[in-house]
């Protein structure tokens, strides 16, 4: 594993087999981890071993493999509990992804608690996955969705938010870090103010989980969601943290096996804790893989990861800003290593195609955040999102490729 005292990015890159390959004959500069991150060898190996050596369904039967598989699956849950500093494993629910986690809360909590005229407060920074589920439940219940504005730098406007909170506010659902422009929101203040107003809070931590240590007990959010594949784990696994007392009061979302206590045609009673929300055979190997990914990042340490990423962000910001006619969209004071930009006279899709030929992978488009694009009056941006394995050479490749875009467009 990694040296515990220094952060050696080249050593970390060797943990990720994808970096051994080239793209279009160029070294791969992968700057699209905000969409999905690459996987370290240890995650691939752990999942492979789970299929090769210990695979069986969980929570069923008394045979040996089922028992080992259950231990690994539940072990991953404990890894994630510890990582999030949740009070109990009963508060950690495995889902398919962050989107499913949000839909679970919107449907379960929303359906049971929302009345006509109640308000759901989101922000302009949100990913569509933290907008649409709330719109759907608002349509069904007569509740109203409102969005906290952001300023010209892309900062969450706390004062406006405090003004919006009131007796009608039932749910506040806000991102921890903007996927499109990197803004880190003041989550602690958001949560405390929502609680003072009597609302429950869901935080979308999809972009936060790969970049920072999470602490549920300090944060005091009612619900916190993230997805596995952005934090170097596999696809098909997401996490919903819910405070124990919240989960107890929540009706089930999906019905099926594993989430019941006793089934009769007259009346079915449900399992307690996380089991109530994990109907059917869960993504067993994906959960085990996510556990390995979380162990991997924690062995390196988020303090070092954060410092490395912030240094890289500063370097990339400086380098990109030196390019004529390049405009960085979103310049919040506290940002994760995500840079969205536009080039005068060149559409982001043309930027994306041209830099790709230089081996540089970036995301171009609206980033599933169209209200945010509207705020900045752009249809799309180019976005470079960095992770622990990126180095200065990746940034240099991006800058050189952006310059070649300008060469082509003259």
């Amino acid at each position: 594993m990694n040296d515990m005292t220094t952060f050696d990015v080249e050593k970390i890159r060797r943990d990720f087999p994808i970096f051994a390959r080239e793209v279009h004959g160029k070294p791969l500069a992968f700057l699209d981890s905000g969409a999905s991150a690459q996987k370290p060898q240890v995650v691939i190996d752990t999942m492979r071993r789970a299929y090769l050596e210990t695979y069986a369904n969980v929570h069923r039967g008394v045979h040996y493999l089922s028992q080992v598989s259950t231990e690994l699956y539940e072990g991953a849950r404990e890894t994630i509990r510890a990582h999030m500093n949740a009070a109990s494993v009963e508060e950690i629910i495995f889902t398919k992804n962050a989107t499913e986690s949000i839909n679970l809360v919107a449907n379960s909590y929303g359906w049971a608690n929302l009345k006509p005229g109640d308000e759901i407060i989101l922000s302009t920074l949100e990913h569509h996955s933290n907008i649409v589920p709330w719109q759907l439940i608002a349509e069904k219940t007569g509740a109203v969705v409102k969005a906290v504005p952001i300023d010209a730098h892309g900062e969450f406007m706390l004062d406006k938010y405090l003004d919006m909170l009131g007796p009608k506010t039932k749910i506040v659902a806000v991102t921890h870090i903007s996927n499109a422009i990197g803004t880190i929101t003041p989550v602690k203040e958001i949560i405390d103010a929502a609680h003072d107003a009597g609302a429950v809070v869901l935080i979308d931590g999809s972009q936060a989980a790969p970049h920072m240590k999470l602490d549920m007990q300090a944060l005091d959010a009612d619900f916190y969601v993230f997805t596995g594949h952005k934090v170097f784990g596999p696809t098909g696994i997401g996490v919903l943290y819910g405070k124990a007392e919240m989960l107890e009061a929540l009706p089930p979302f999906l019905g099926g096996g594993d989430m019941i206590e006793r089934v009769t045609f007259a009346k079915t009673t449900y399992a307690k804790g996380h089991s109530k929300f994990e109907a059917g055979t869960p993504p067993i190997v994906q959960a085990i893989g996510l556990g390995a990914a979380i162990d991997y990042v924690n062995a390196i340490g988020f303090e070092k990861i954060g410092a490395h990423e912030q240094a890289l962000l500063a370097y990339a910001t400086e380098q990109l800003q030196s390019i004529n006619s390049l405009r960085i969209i979103g310049q919040a004071k506290h940002k994760a290593a995500i840079i969205s930009f536009t080039l005068d006279g060149v559409h982001p899709h043309d930027i994306g195609t041209i830099v790709d030929r230089g081996g540089v992978a970036i995301r171009v488009g609206h980033h599933c955040a169209q209200p945010l694009m509207d705020h900045f009056d752009v249809a799309a941006t180019a976005r470079a999102s960095m992770a622990l394995y990126n180095n200065r050479a990746d940034v240099d490749a991006l800058v050189a490729s952006v310059k070649s875009v300008q060469e082509i467009f003259g």
């Binding site: 279009h24 006279g345 060149v346 559409h347 982001p348 899709h349 043309d350 195609t353 041209i354 030929r357 171009v364 488009g365 609206h366 169209q370 694009m373 249809a379 799309a380 070649s404 060469e407 082509i408 467009f409 003259g410």
Partner: protein, 151 residues
């Protein structure tokens, strides 16, 4: 610079994208359609003035998009003006096969050479929809289907 990029972003394409022809909304247009690519958010409105016997008397467009989609819309409106609905749809069918890389032979008469400028798109499968968005909208406008989406 890679050859296929040069092939894609030829001078003519860049010229059309920077100075799109027929970029306007004619007051006498009698057919129109809105094309939308939800993947990138690009939009195009195609306006046609259809005369007797399916003759396209005027063709124009407005919209936001990448160099490929703007150039394609610009060239298309130039090309279909003065042609019949059937001719325009035949050119579209051939053009679609060309940019998808399904066929290398392409014959659109006097317009062949101009449209071949966009043939470079076939090396970039993710960009085929950019090149065909305006054409889909044109075809929908003729069929009186006011909205098309590439997804």
């Amino acid at each position: 610079m890679m050859d296929d990029l040069r092939e894609l972003y030829q001078e003519v394409i860049l010229d059309h994208s920077k100075n799109p022809r027929n970029f306007r909304h004619p007051a006498d247009a009698n057919h129109e359609a809105h094309g939308y690519n939800p993947l990138c958010g690009d939009t195009v409105n195609v306006y046609l003035k259809m005369g007797h016997n399916g003759l396209i008397e005027d063709a124009a467009f407005e919209g936001k998009g990448c160099a490929i989609s703007l150039a394609s819309a610009s060239m298309m409106t130039d090309i279909i003006k003065g042609k019949t609905e059937t001719q325009a749809k035949e050119i579209f069918a051939g053009f679609q096969k060309l940019v998808k890389g399904e066929e290398n032979e392409f014959d659109a008469g006097e317009d062949t050479e101009r449209l071949m400028m966009l043939a470079g798109v076939k090396e970039f499968p993710m960009r085929v929809k950019c090149a065909t968005l305006a054409w889909h909208a044109m075809s929908s406008a003729m069929d009186d289907k006011p909205e098309i989406s590439t997804e």
